[in-house]
């Protein structure tokens, strides 16, 4: 259940007094751009003021299946000033910060690529046959989410080598991921953030964004996902995504990403994970027109049982395959997030 309240004033306050996330306000001066390694894990405590390509944020791990530059994958984000430019009638917009801006709390704005870049991405069943956790980047699924109510039914029908990467029922999703230790005595978790889709940069039709939490059972190759999303306003964009226990054919094409255990490969990068069974709960599908100003959203769910557990927390931007394939060059829309939080209890 969501609790929504407007953030007051020109200066965004913290979202939640308790937060298990580290560097939730991207305060270390890092500014990754264009491309990076999936799962790249630096020494977080000393990772400050790293700007440009092949970088990350301290404590946050990059994931995108959209390879755009050698063995790097697409990074699409701006960093914005949390102090808005007040225009007299509303809060105003938050200005774009430079690479060399001083260390300060920042808003992250995620956006899409509007391009498939290379043929390796124009292959809807890429990764077919690889499940569980793995290290071969070429085996990641380019289809990160698949639906049944737009251009095709990929919940009841398999994605094959002849499936077009311009089908409106397919999405390619990129994440900023943080791996969290779940306290042994915790049974529930609350997660959320202050979010916004600005009036001047609305999500393009069929694109959606949001936050998901993943809990993986590596031995059974099962992923449990809890998420909310924000979407385009049109009736055509009010489509459903698969929830509940997904079919064996649909599971590997939904909510793939970095393994939530945080296990690393020999290069120190977090391994990838493609589930064979996926259990999904959608907490909300929000209309972007209701979020032109920052509002706090938060949701709760019951954790999987056990001890020494881990969970991934993921900010995401899901770009529709049709929009990717068109390469129209127009704006994808931007999803703004300030001070996301996780609270275990």
């Amino acid at each position: 259940m969501s609790v929504v309240s407007a953030a007051r004033g020109l200066f965004l306050a913290d979202t939640n007094s308790t937060n298990n996330l580290a560097n939730s306000k991207y305060e270390k001066g890092n500014y990754p751009v264009w491309t990076s390694f999936n799962g790249y894990t630096p020494t977080d405590a000393s990772y400050t003021n790293n700007v440009g390509t092949w970088k990350t944020f301290a404590f946050w791990r990059h994931y995108s299946p959209l390879y755009n530059d050698s063995y790097g994958s697409y990074v699409g984000n701006h960093m914005l000033n949390r102090v808005a430019d007040h225009n007299g009638t509303s809060r105003g917009e938050n200005a774009l910060l430079g690479f060399d801006a001083s260390i300060q709390p920042r808003i992250i704005k995620m956006f899409g690529s509007e391009d498939l870049f290379f043929n390796i991405n124009n292959n809807a069943d890429r990764g077919n046959g690889t499940t569980g956790q793995f290290t071969n980047q070429n085996s990641s699924r380019i289809v990160s989410n698949a639906g049944s109510s737009l251009g095709g039914d990929f919940i009841n029908n398999a994605i094959t080598s002849s499936t077009s990467m311009s089908n409106t029922s397919l999405w390619c999703r990129k994440d900023w991921t943080q791996i969290l230790d779940i306290p042994d005595n915790a049974t529930t978790v609350k997660f959320g953030a202050q979010i916004k889709v600005g009036a001047n940069d609305k999500l393009k039709i069929y694109n959606f964004a949001g936050i998901y939490c993943a809990e993986d059972n590596v031995s059974t190759k099962t992923r449990t996902v809890n998420y909310f999303r924000i979407r385009h306003t049109s009736a055509a964009s009010n489509y459903s995504l698969p929830t509940g226990t997904l079919s064996a054919s649909a599971s590997p094409y939904n909510w793939t990403g970095l393994v939530s255990t945080g296990e690393e490969d020999s290069n120190g990068n977090i391994k990838l994970f493609t589930p064979v069974s996926t259990v999904v709960t959608e907490h909300a599908s929000l209309n972007q027109n209701d979020y032109e100003e920052f509002k706090t959203v938060e949701y709760s769910f019951t954790l999987q049982s056990g001890t020494s557990r881990k969970m991934s927390f993921n900010l995401f931007f899901a770009e529709n395959a049709y929009n990717l394939a068109q390469e129209a060059g127009d704006l994808t829309g931007g999803f703004q997030v300030y001070d996301p939080f996780v609270e275990f209890s």
Binding site: W34, T53, L96, G329
Partner: protein, 71 residues
């Protein structure tokens, strides 16, 4: 100037050195990361990491730069 350097590389990749590309990348990190500037950063990274194999993608980034600059 960096736009012209990339256009020169597209016309004749051998006429631009890796040092010039790396120097241009450093210069771009002193600019505001606007949409057009991200296109130039992408083009320079593609040239550095992929060379002529990425020439079509470099061309696309430059077309996008021109489109955003003129919009």
């Amino acid at each position: 100037m960096i736009y012209e350097l990339i256009k020169t590389w597209i016309d004749n990749p051998a006429s631009v050195t890796l040092n010039e590309i790396e120097s241009a990348q450093q210069q771009m990190l002193t600019q505001l990361p606007t949409g057009p500037n991200l296109c130039l950063i992408a083009a320079l990274s593609l040239i550095e990491n992929n060379g002529v194999d990425a020439i079509e993608n470099v061309r696309k980034r430059i077309r996008k730069y021109e489109q955003e600059n003129n919009s």
